[in-house]
């Protein structure tokens, strides 16, 4: 397991920004790295705790599967939903090319 005490680096921030699809320039990467290192420093207090016998808690209220009858119910108006999109074509969302770029 990586040591949480080791500080986050600009390379980490650049990689994570790429994963999160955020274009960030170098100046911002350095700035964010400095700020996030300070936030993560506080995690060293947590590292000092013995948590081996503690169960993780993901939800405040015990969750169960929520099911309903498989019947058609009213849903959002297709035209209204599409009208909020930046670009549509033939009743669908239109996006820039995904594959097969010629250049």
């Amino acid at each position: 397991m990586p040591d949480t005490g080791s500080s986050i680096t600009p390379a980490d921030v650049a990689k994570v920004a790429r994963l999160a699809r955020l274009d960030i320039d170098d100046a911002h990467i350095d700035h964010f790295t400095e700020q996030l290192a300070k936030v993560l420093q506080h995690f060293q207090d947590v590292d000092a705790l013995d948590l081996s016998a503690v169960e993780p808690m993901t939800q405040a209220y015990p969750l169960v599967n929520v099911l309903r009858e498989d019947v058609v119910q009213p849903c959002l108006d297709r035209q209204e939903v599409l009208s909020a999109a930046p670009d549509t074509e033939d009743g669908r969302f239109r996006v820039p090319p995904i594959i097969g770029l010629t250049e």
């Binding site: 955020l22 964010f32 969750l63 820039p96």
Partner: protein
Amino acid sequence: MSEIPRTVVDIADAVATKQIKAREVVDHYLAQIEARDGEINAFNIVTADHARAQADAIDAALASGEKVGALAGVPVALKDNLCTHGVPTTCSSKILEGWKPPYDATVVSTLRGLGTISVGKTNLDEFAMGSSTENSAFGPTRNPHDTSRVPGGSSGGSAAAVAAGFAPVSLGSDTGGSIRQPAALCGVVGVKPTYGLVSRYGLVAFASSLDQIGPFATTVTDAAVITHAIAGYDPMDSTSIPKDVPDFRSAVSAGVAGMRIGRVTDLPEGAEPEVTQRLDEAFIALEKAGATIVDVQLPSFSYALTAYYLIAPAEASSNLARYDGVRYGMRQQASDVNAMYGVTRAAGFGDEVKRRIIIGTYALSAGYFDAYYGKALKVRRLIAQDFDRAYSQCDVIMMPTSPMVAFPFGDKVDDPMSMYLCDIYTIPTNLAGHAAVSVPFGTGAAGLPVGVQVLAPALGEVPMFKVAGALEAAQGGK
């Protein structure tokens, strides 16, 4: 009738008994907004025409003897992360500027069904991330008590709107203190209900396991009435609790005789001396009213902040993946779809949102998941266990809402950790999924409002409102 009532219950009563027209009420509040919101900036959008038309429809229904809703004619302001059908919902983010949702949040349709009238959408820290409402793409909201200071956040617009008399009541959302902290800084009542008590359907998600909608009001009774109105099971929210909701309003005047109020002896330090003094006075007031003070410990409390600032960004990084320039909101053009995502999100999100997406993605990424996110979830369990032990000894717990009174603009906005410390006393309630309320209790430094926080276990709203009502009564309130 010339005098416009100022509380939810008085307005609803006066309109229902035709002592005043809904239109007169709405015109009064719209005039207040017109006169002073240029300075305060509580609203992202004011829906004046909608509001007047709705008021006229209520007056017409009453004139022809038709039944109207129990809260007919009560103006309400809505945090701009609550979806309103056909009315822009921006989350104070450039990425959603101009977006008109194709549906209403459940709380919005519920309140409209009861006859309340929305006067507009209120400003917030972008996507509810912040404690000062300075992280808004549309400029900060100012505190009506001192316009050189922040109103708190993230629901700063909703808190300021009620404090400035722009609406008798408003809705906000609370993920780590975003209702209670601005309520304290603006001198109004703010409720964070039990997780699952109020439907989150149509609340734009920040951290789904922590988010909860609640009201701001000028009196505890109004806060109880509105909390009750929006509470209840909703099949559209799979985390909604399928139980009946008890009466909250009668709890407000029920008194605290025989109740056990927890005083935390190992609370993290750092509250301003005046804030601690007001809290001490609040304990004395409750003792005089017949309650018993019990010392309790919450040894893991101080780790809550650290855990929260991993868990909330982790959930946010996932929730905010949907803003990609495809289905709604803005798009920046680029040659291929991946490049389009990157430039759209870079241009649409502000710095605090980017910070949280990065830290959340980092905490969830391969190699770091167990070290950060997994451990934070274990700390969350410790917090919940601490509360369980404490609530075996007491009915509610009392502590400050915010360590400090309203602070000047620019004080903390570029130092994330100092901003995060604003939420040190409010975050544990969200991690545990419990209920809490901030009640105005005197003033602190510079004569600014101080809030006292009453915490209760899950579905402990009844004891919570009893104590909140007693705190208000001790100050000669309603």
